[in-house]
């Protein structure tokens, strides 16, 4: 394709001239400005975790306000909400992952076992759908289904004579974790299964053929061929789960949270929102999110280290 017999070196050199470089940097400029303003500048705001900052001070107050000797952090630990929110955050995540990861993995394995391609497509189409719907709507629908005022679940339980009067599911703290976990599972089981399906498709088919020749049945093939083949993927999902242990899905929990279920629904992310943007205690809110980020980094490093030791797979 090269005309006029130029060597690759000369062609690369074409780009080194001043005009080309100026054009390229001009093309990078809008994105660069946006990254600097919206991603880099806010990092200075972390300073207010260590300062006596008041909202009236405005943005410049980040620099001019006085240091307050870790008072914000002390306030986080002293808060009566501190232990409940840690318990809820870890509880929802740990219990959630213990249910979600195996359920999604099993769903993917079963999906892969379906012999009819058309039925498989149909199931995938139906189960992917909720992922594209917002939590406001999906969460709102769950609230409607769980409504004590003639909601579907209460109606069914009443007909089956399992309960004699409707339960206010959203208003009782003890149901909240389960509602969050199961609604999350229903919303994302299809989407979550993609990554496992891709891994299953990547397992060497000759291994399956060899197992068939050796007389392995379906279950044995899944257990001895497919599962070991996708173990690296499962490990990576576990690392992500551990690293994200302090992260809750704010968009989901905020929709489902109400004053009655707050003892079970207040997690770190909703606490930061409430204390920061509703009560305007910016210092305490920032201190909480900073603590969370540092702990999350430590968790990620730890999970990665353990995974590298045990299975030789890791993110870094």
């Amino acid at each position: 394709m090269r005309k006029k017999g130029k060597t690759p070196a000369q062609i690369t050199a074409l780009g080194k001239d001043r005009k080309t470089q100026l054009t390229l940097h001009a093309m990078l400029l809008p994105g660069t400005i946006l990254i600097i303003i919206f991603n880099i500048v806010p990092l200075y705001g972390i300073l207010i975790a260590f300062k006596a900052f008041r909202p009236m001070m405005g943005f410049s107050g980040i620099f001019t306000s006085s240091w307050n000797n870790f008072e914000n952090f002390k306030q986080v630990f002293r808060s009566s909400e501190f232990w409940p929110m840690i318990r809820n955050t870890l509880g929802i995540n740990l219990l959630g992952q213990c249910i979600t990861i195996p359920a999604t993995l099993i769903f993917a394995l079963l999906l892969n076992e379906l012999t009819s391609k058309r039925f498989r497509r149909f199931v995938q189409t139906a189960t992917f759908l909720p992922h594209f719907i917002s939590w406001v709507i999906f969460g709102g629908l769950c609230i409607n289904i769980l409504s004590p005022d003639g909601g579907a679940l209460n109606q069914i339980l009443m007909v089956l004579k399992l309960i004699d009067k409707p339960i206010l599911f959203m208003g009782e703290a003890r149901y909240f974790w389960l509602i969050v976990i199961l609604s999350g599972l229903v919303k994302d089981i299809g989407y979550g299964s993609i990554i496992y399906l891709a891994a299953i498709a990547g397992v060497d088919p000759t291994l399956h053929e060899a197992a068939t020749v050796d007389g392995a049945n379906r279950f044995q093939k899944i257990w001895h061929v497919t599962l070991p083949g996708i173990l690296p993927t499962v490990m990576i999902m576990l690392i992500f789960a551990v690293a994200g242990m302090l992260n809750n899905n704010f968009t989901q929990i905020y929709v489902m949270q109400n004053p009655l279920n707050q003892p079970a629904s207040q997690v770190i992310d909703t606490y930061v929102y409430q204390i920061g943007l509703e009560k305007f205690q910016f210092g305490v809110g920032t201190a909480t999110s900073l603590l969370k980020s540092v702990l999350a980094l430590a968790l990620l490093t730890m999970a990665n280290f353990v995974s590298n030791k045990i299975t030789d797979t890791g993110l870094f």
Binding site: M27, G58, L111, P130, D149, N217, T251, S293
Partner: protein, 308 residues
């Protein structure tokens, strides 16, 4: 021989069990939407007796009509739709242009841009510093807060674009250059038409994300005129939830219960049926987008996971 027949029978039973499980999964994921549709098409007054489970008892379009003529919903729809279109178009342009320049092997100071990009991906100041920034820039409680902070699609998308650009044969760039085309010209008339699939895929993701977003309204706006559709529905859900809890706490007192149910409204359209109709209407655009999204997003995810 006998063994084989047994194992075949076992395999058939297993197939049946798998199919049954899959059908249950499909019902669980699809039923909530079906539930919303049938209940929003049921007469509001009649809904006070309890939700319908399979089919409307008293069919009516009234709640849908009411939702479509509610000025607050129409305003929220306009805010959401305009924001979704504007941001998606500019975001794709700015991000792919950035990615093109970033992918050129002869770009000087590439390390600076890479460092900036990875920083933006992994470190964040959290919502409060961002809130202060939005206020300081004068974006708080203006329409611009929906546009300006979202104009850059994130460095992760840059990586996806870059890995797609690498698949374009180098000879194409070379001959364009020898013909005298500048970098911007190459980006616009050669690279962009060749990477339509990835533009479409990331565009679909962007549309879904923007349409479904409510936290921007929650964090950075106050004016009712700036509510997005999702935020408006969130407020409907939350206020009716609060009412329901009050109602059930006074369940023993029929007079107060009566009072509460009168707040809920009566007639063919009630707060409940309107809320459900609004939910269904807000879902329709996503359902229309869905076949495109489904087609692209497996692709998009694979590109990201293999080359990112």
């Amino acid at each position: 021989m006998n063994n084989i027949t047994i194992s075949k029978a076992v395999s058939k039973t297993a197939d049946a069990i798998i199919i049954a499980i899959m059908i249950i999964a499909v019902i669980l994921t699809v039923y909530p939407f079906y539930y919303a549709v049938i209940n929003s098409l049921n007469e509001g007054n009649d809904l006070l007796k309890g939700y319908v489970l399979l089919w409307p008892r008293k069919f009516t379009w009234d709640s849908w009509k009411a939702a479509l003529s509610d000025s607050a919903i129409l305003n929220a729809l306009a805010v959401t739709a305009s924001r979704t279109v504007i941001v998606t178009v500019f975001q794709l342009f700015i991000t792919s242009m950035f990615a093109y320049a970033f992918s050129r092997p002869y770009l000087k100071h590439k390390k600076f841009y890479a460092a900036l990009g990875f920083c933006s991906m992994y470190i964040s100041g959290g919502i409060i510093p961002f809130f202060l920034l939005i206020s300081a820039l004068g974006l708080y409680d203006t329409y611009w807060v929906y546009i300006i902070p979202s104009l850059f699609g994130g460095f992760y998308n840059v990586i996806i674009f870059t890995s797609n650009y690498k698949a374009i044969p180098a000879s194409l760039f070379e001959s364009a250059k020898l013909d005298g085309a500048g970098e911007f010209r190459i980006f616009l008339s050669i690279v962009t038409p060749l990477t339509k699939p990835v533009l479409a895929a990331l565009g679909v993701f962007s549309v879904v994300g923007l349409w479904n977003d409510y936290s921007t309204s929650l964090y950075y706006t106050q004016k009712p005129a700036l509510q997005t559709l999702q935020y408006y529905i969130l407020k409907l859900v939350k206020s009716r939830g609060a009412l329901e809890q009050l109602q059930s706490s006074v369940a023993g007192n029929p007079e107060i219960a009566q009072l509460f149910s009168s707040i809920d409204g009566s007639g063919t359209v009630t707060a409940k049926s309107l809320e459900l109709a609004a939910m269904v209407l807000a879902t329709i655009p996503m359902v229309i987008m869905y076949p495109f999204a489904q087609k692209f997003f497996a692709q998009g995810m694979l590109v990201g996971s293999v080359k990112g």
